[in-house]
Each structure stands twice: as structure tokens, then as C-alpha cells.
């Protein structure tokens, strides 16, 4: 455990000193701030637009960090051969990989916390500036703690995407790992269509194939409750618990597969 923690710290330190995640977070904070200006153009919809844009920014920029840094974590080490220095220390390949994963999750948590603070600051400011009459028309209060439910699920989704990026980067090139991760992220959000493929197609093998794909690729739609929280619709605790459990199992499987593949790999 100590070795994993030391590895995670090193990844966190790298990302703190790397300009890429900084720029992504700064850009996201700017976009959240800009959502206030955009909201001024749409009478009555302002609060929903700030929340919509803010949560979307959290999700998309978090995705960029998870994919681009997640893919580079292992491939960069192997390409530049810095992995030789680490794997010849008393550190198993599993500890190396899990340390990398934990470090990136720590980085994501900090970045997401910064973006969340920026979003709540904009919401607080908008609430302060809005006339009483307008406030009454909002479906949910401006500084709504229920938005944290959506943010927790975004974080869980990003942890899953990071595990995907790490998994692909253990056996393929950075470009392929990026494309496959982004591809699965998109497919994962439309996964439920595959489940109902039988209603639009007659061929049994195609329906069977669609069903297999449905169960293999991650189902990311349940992680997206942005619409509900923006409109003040209650998100059931059971849904959150099931989704988090699903994420934990999926991440566990991905990390196990990553450790197995990485453990057998030759570093030429």
C-alpha cells in the first residue's frame, strides 16, 4: 500500500507541475464564469443555463484530463523508458499501475473541486444579483447542494474513464488508447439504445451481438443526472448507490485486466 501511495504522490506532483491540466482547469473556470454572461441573454432561463453550462464544463474538461493524462501515464513511461528506473526498485508492476491510477484520481478530485468551487461562486454571485421576482421563478435554488449529487456521479464516471484509458494504454499506442477511450465514452452514453435494438432490427444474430456489446461496454448514461438536478428533480439515493456500485465493479475489472496485461509485458 505504501508503494502505491508513493507512486500516487509522484503522479500528483507531476500533474501539479504540468501546465496541461492547469490550462484545462483555468479554461473550465473561465467558461463557468462566462456562463453568467450568456445567461444574461436569456430572460428567465439564466439559472438553468449557468448550471447546465457549468456542469457540462466540469464533465467535458474533467474528461479531457482523464483521457489525455490517463493515456500518457503509462505510455510516456514506457516510451521514454523511465519505467526501467521504477520497475527495478522494490515495486511490483501492479503497485506501479495502481499508484498511477490513484495519482490521477487524486489529480481529478482536486481539479474537479476547483471547478466546483468556481461554479458555486458564479451561482452565489448570480443569486445575489438577481431580483426577488426572478428568483421565485427558478425551479431550484441557485446555490443548490443537490448539484453535488451530479458532481459526485461525474467524478465516478471520470474514474471509470481513467481506468479505461489506463487499460488501453497498457497494450496499445497513445493514439489508439485515446481514440478507443473517447469512442467508448461516446458509445457508453448511448449504450441503452443497444439494449432495445430488437425493436428496430429483426436479425437474431445482430440483436444478440448488440446485447453482448451492451453488457461489455460501460453504461455511462446513469452517471448523467445533470438534467434532473438543474430542473430540481429529485435523484433517488438508490440510483446513486447502484451507479456508484456499478462504477466500482467496472473499475475493479478494468484495473485487474490492466494489471494482468501490464504484468506480462516486455519493455524492450
Amino acid at each position: 500500500m505504501r508503494q502505491i501511495w508513493l507512486g500516487a504522490n509522484a503522479v500528483f506532483r507531476e500533474s501539479v507541475r504540468d501546465r496541461v491540466p492547469y490550462s484545462i482547469v483555468v479554461f473550465a473556470v473561465l467558461m463557468i464564469a462566462a456562463s453568467y454572461l450568456i445567461s444574461q441573454l436569456t430572460a428567465g432561463q439564466d439559472m438553468k443555463i449557468i448550471k447546465d453550462l457549468g456542469l457540462a464544463a466540469l464533465s467535458i474538461f474533467g474528461l479531457l484530463i482523464a483521457v489525455f493524462i490517463g493515456v500518457g501515464l503509462v505510455t510516456k513511461e514506457v516510451e521514454k523508458r523511465s519505467v526501467y528506473g521504477l520497475l527495478t526498485k522494490p515495486l511490483s508492476r501492479a503497485e506501479f499501475l495502481l499508484g498511477k491510477y490513484a495519482g490521477l484520481v487524486m489529480t481529478l478530485a482536486v481539479n474537479l473541486a476547483v471547478m466546483t468551487a468556481a461554479l458555486y461562486a458564479v451561482l452565489f454571485f448570480s443569486n445575489l444579483m438577481a431580483p426577488e421576482g426572478l428568483r421565485q421563478s427558478w425551479e431550484a435554488p441557485a446555490v443548490d447542494p443537490r448539484m453535488l449529487t451530479a458532481i459526485v456521479l461525474i467524478f465516478a464516471e471520470l474514474m471509470l474513464v481513467t481506468a479505461l484509458a489506463l487499460f488501453f494504454s497498457t497494450f496499445t499506442s497513445p493514439l489508439w488508447a485515446t481514440l478507443l477511450t473517447l469512442g467508448l465514452w461516446v458509445a457508453g452514453h448511448f449504450n441503452s439504445d443497444l439494449r432495445n435494438f430488437g425493436t428496430v432490427v429483426d436479425s437474431a444474430p445482430v440483436i444478440w451481438l448488440a446485447r453482448v456489446i451492451y453488457y461489455v461496454i460501460p453504461n455511462l448514461a446513469p452517471f448523467d443526472v445533470k438534467g434532473e438536478v438543474v430542473h430540481g428533480i429529485h435523484v433517488a439515493a438508490r440510483h446513486v448507490a447502484y451507479t456508484l456500485a456499478y462504477a466500482a465493479v467496472y473499475i475493479g475489472l478494468l484495473l485487474t485486466a490492466s494489471v494482468t496485461i501490464f504484468g506480462r509485458r516486455d519493455f524492450k
Binding site: D18, R81, Y84, G85, T88, P90, L91, D266, F267, K268
Partner: protein
Amino acid sequence: MPAIETEALTKDYLVGFWRPRPYRALDGMTLSVESGEVFGFLGPNGAGKSTTLKLLMQLIFPTSGSARILGSPVGDVAVRRRIGFLAENPYYYDYLTAEELLTYFARLFGYTSAEAKTRVASVLDQVGLGAERRMRLRSFSKGMIQRVGLAQALLNEPEVVFLDEPMSGLDPLGRRDVRDLILGLRKRGCTVFFSSHILSDAEALCDRVAIVAQGKLAASGRLNALLAFELQGWELVISNVPEALAATLPARFGSVTSLSHGRVALKLAADAEPDRVISTLRAEGASVESLNPIRHSLEDFFMQHVRSAPQRATGL
């Protein structure tokens, strides 16, 4: 118990994209290095030296055969607490300082923060980077990175050190420092296994050497046993040679080479009795500058084995 043992260690790689064929990078390498030895692993580029070291570090897995370090299989993570490794042309994290990198590695070896701080300072001084400890590695030259690599290999006061081309990228001063460092390691009983294609380093440092060519062990043993130490002849250098004497030299000695400042090098046969030859030449007016025995060098031995090595197997 030997410090390092390999038994018929073999590694095949698949080469080719459409129809991959196996390429034998290492073929049945059997070696044994005793504790406390400085062992030179010599061979031209691409001979299989780095492949052997990567197999010993389990950075790659053998196709067949086995290897043990300090009696444990190479896959045993615990044995890595007792060894050090320097890769060829190492690369470390640009964003860390030398001190931070070594502290991270020291913590992996189980040192506490305070112990790591002391140990890192000591090892950085040892490799001559004490003043640069707080500089980011991205600003380091190739030679400085090589010194960082040596520092991390010595961090845990290892019992066995593996050095892959340790002189690579170093200037003459750096190379002398590394030689002194290896001699220092031998003094404290550390086993050193180093690969090199620079034969003078091996001649100066090694107790034993192995020569690898085309993925196979071509020869191994003690330097004085490997090199034929029987006399091949003598090289006699004379000066102030009178003209009359100069004219007779080719007929009397066969091999005569004119050197600078009027000096002449003569090659004498092993049984030529140099004392008698020197007395005669002095009597004829010449001065004697030097007399050196001619023996086989490691380079002669190396070239002989590398050239005669059979071509490696492909498409097995």
C-alpha cells in the same frame, strides 16, 4: 552461492508486421558471477548485452531458461532491495529535481523521510552532483543524467550493481570518476556486473569478463586466463641511429618502423634475447629508448571471438 546465475537464458522477439518471425536476441546464455567480483559483459552493439540485463531485471521475460540473483529468482520483488541498476542512456522525470527523484526512489526502498534525506545527500555528493541537487532534471546534460542514474543505482547500498554501459555520455573526467566508483564498490565487497563495448574499461576494472556476440556467449573467464599471456615478441625503440647501422636494420630485424625525432621501432622475436641485442646496438652507436613485451590484448581477443561468432538464428 554465486551472486548472479543464468541458465540457458534465451529470448526471442517477433519481428515483421504482416508475417511476424521469431528473432533470437539471446541464445542459451549460461553465466555465473561470484560474490564480490567485478564482471565485465562485453560485446559489440546489438550483441545481446542489454537483452541479458533486461532479463536479469525482469523488464522482459525469457523465452526459455532461468536466472537468479543472490539465490532468488529474478522476479522476486524482495531481492530488488539488495540490488542497483543503471539502464543504458537512462531517462528520469524532467519535472523533478535530482534530490526529489532520489528521495522518491529512496522511499520505495523503505527509507523514512529523514533517512532518505541523509542518504540522498550522501549519494549525490558521491557522484559529484551535490551542488546541482535542487535543479530540475530537464536542465541536466547527458553526462549529469548518467551521474543521476549512477546515484539511484547506489542509493540502497546494494550488494549487486548492474550497470549497462555506465561510461556512456561521460567525458574523460566522468569516466575516471566511474572507474574510481566501481573500484570503490569492489573494495566494499559489492558485486558489479557491467556491460560495455569499451575494452579498456574492462581491462582496467574486471576480475572476469564474458564476451557475447550474435546473442551467444563467445568466451568467459579470468582476464589472465582468457588472454594468452605468453610472450608474442618485443618492441625495442632506439634513437641516434648512425647511418651505417640504419642501413643494416631491415636485414637484421625484419620489422623496422621509423618514428618521430629520428627514433626507430624494431620488432624482435620472442626468443631474440633482448639484452644481447641491446648491447650490440649500443656498441654500434645507437641509444635505447624503450623495450616492451608484446602480448595479446583484450581487443585482439575480442575481435577474434566477435568475428568468428556464428550468425544468430532468425525465423526459428
